[in-house]
């Protein structure tokens, strides 16, 4: 199991466990984490699972695809260099302890 910490815009934190291969978006929706929607089901079509990855965790992530990069242009809150769509982040041992910040809005 991979531990994922979600930090809400108001500073509230919650930690949940994801299974190997499960996306961080599914970890969020399965645990009713507020502020992560994932409307298109991971199809890279809605940009409603936008997160800001913690700087330390960022270094452990595989790079974005051009398709994900394109969709980051559509997020409700302006993206930063640490922006990702968390449907594209798949849980694996190397990501254990990943921390992501939830933006104020997803649409």
């Amino acid at each position: 199991m991979v531990k994922v910490t979600f930090i809400h815009p108001d500073g509230r934190q919650e930690q949940h466990e994801g299974s190997d291969g499960q996306s961080v978006m599914r970890v969020a929706t399965s645990n009713l984490v507020d502020g992560i929607i994932g409307e298109c089901g991971g199809d890279l079509s809605c940009a409603t699972c936008h997160v800001f990855v913690d700087e330390v965790s960022w270094r452990t992530l595989p790079p974005k695809t051009p398709e994900e990069d394109d969709m980051l242009a559509v997020t409700a809150v302006e993206p930063t260099e640490f922006s990702r769509l968390c449907c594209q982040i798949k849980c694996s041992e190397s990501l254990d302890g990943i921390v992501v910040h939830i933006p104020k809005a997803q649409r």
């Binding site: 599914r26 009713l32 507020d34 409307e39 298109c40 079509s45 809605c46 242009a73």
Partner: protein
């Protein structure tokens, strides 16, 4: 403890989202989710895309981990249909004989594929429709390289399946009785673009072509289609994608107002104040002009679910939402925002006849009311802002590709 008892009929995108939203909002009463499929709620859009292509597993389709339903004390009844509603007793009788009481009932039964009214097709094992995961599971073994697939209907389902089939090496013929593809969804310019793309990808697209008869072999399978032009088309597989029929019979039998869907008010309430309807099956008043409409899309289903959750918990909220849709075909992503059915001007930004990237803006009385965006999420981001703001933008500026999407966005922000 609350004495409330909420029953949701239909465990699709709308029903599943509603159950989760109610618990998220702190509802602690009884909550039952009744679905006639053998699965927890799953995402349907990938069915005709990644799932058919084999790039996504059944588990990956699940919207939430199965454990969530237990953790949140959501009673899920799978493989179970609702047979009848007794509005006086406030009970629902299920196909397994169980009788559930409700204080609030939400109908989220979605729809089913419209069937071709052809007797020969009813027993044929090689004729398919797309709505459920089971539909795709049945169909996929037939999707072998070289197999001959005929698609009846040039709507989103037909085109998405054509795209997957070509990627898997099938031989694809698509028949559309109208003059153009996607006739209900978009304007002739975009229709022509998709005809070109499918042609380039090797689909034999036949417009204004209907099937006159289906010839069935000894196996009971359809082996040949005879077109209205008299041509014989040999087939291994037939896929029919000619629209959706709302599953409103249950509501109708209960005496609720039904007319091409279950009629609801702006808070998604049916003609019975204890019963609500959401998703593909609900026909609701447009926030702008009050006209009743039914929208078949995931964003509509999930947003209605989140809206009605608030209403059910005593904070009535009207459903106001900007419709949007998407489709993936080959390397082409189409994103649509707004409803383009009432426009008086079409503005093209980009090149329709070469490449695979452009934007079409629909204007009504000078106001940007909808847009179809191909291959440019940046343009989609801008279009969404323009439509949401009911912006008035000079068509010459909209069409000028020297102005970047970001600049266009800034100009709108400055005006608004």
């Amino acid at each position: 403890m609350s004495s409330e008892d909420i029953v949701i009929i239909g465990a699709g995108q709308a029903g599943g989202e509603l159950a989760a939203a109610l618990r998220s909002l702190g509802y602690d009463g009884r909550l039952t989710l009744v679905g006639n499929e053998a699965s927890y709620p799953y995402a349907r859009p990938p069915l005709s895309k990644a799932y058919l292509l084999g790039k996504c597993s059944a588990e990956e389709l699940l919207i939430r981990a199965p454990a969530m339903y237990d953790q949140q004390n959501i009673n899920v009844r799978m493989n179970t249909a609702a047979r009848s509603i007794d509005r006086k007793a406030k009970t629902v009788t299920l196909s397994n004989g169980e009788v559930l009481s409700y204080s609030k009932l939400v109908i989220a039964t979605g729809g089913r594929p419209r069937q071709l009214p052809v007797r020969e097709l009813s027993g044929a094992a090689n004729v398919f429709y797309v709505r459920t995961r089971a539909d795709i599971d049945r169909m996929r073994p037939y999707f072998a390289p070289g197999a001959r697939l005929a698609i009846i209907g040039g709507g989103f389902i037909g085109l998405e399946v054509a795209s997957v089939a070509r990627q898997l090496g099938l031989d694809v013929t698509l028949l559309e009785s109208q003059q153009r593809l996607l006739a209900r969804a978009t304007c002739p310019l975009v229709s022509e673009f998709f005809r070109r793309i499918h042609h380039e990808e090797g689909v034999d697209v036949r417009l204004q072509t209907s099937v006159q008869s289906y010839l069935v072999g000894q196996s009971g399978n359809v082996e040949t289609l005879v077109s209205d032009g008299g041509e014989h088309i040999r087939v291994d597989i037939v896929l029919v994608g000619i629209g959706l029929v709302p599953n409103s019979e249950l509501a109708e039998a209960a005496g609720l107002e039904v007319e091409n869907g279950i009629v609801v008010d702006e808070c998604l309430r049916t003609s019975d104040p204890a019963i609500y309807a959401i998703g593909d099956v609900a026909r609701f008043p447009d926030a702008g002009n009050g006209a009743l409409r039914r929208i078949e899309s995931v964003p509509n289903a999930t947003e209605q679910a989140r809206t009605v959750a608030e209403t059910l918990l005593g904070r009535p909220r009207p459903y106001i939402s900007l419709p949007w849709f998407w489709s993936d075909q080959y390397d082409v992503k189409l994103q649509i925002v707004g409803l383009s059915d009432e426009h008086d001007q079409v503005v093209l930004r980009g090149d329709l006849t070469n490449g695979r990237k452009f934007a079409i803006y629909y204007l009504r009385n000078g106001v940007v009311s909808a847009a179809d965006i191909v291959g440019s999420p940046q343009d989609f981001a801008v279009a969404r802002k323009l439509v949401a703001a009911a912006a008035v933008v000079d068509p010459v500026i909209l069409a000028d590709t020297r102005i970047t999407p970001r600049d266009l966005s800034r100009m709108v922000a400055a005006v608004a």
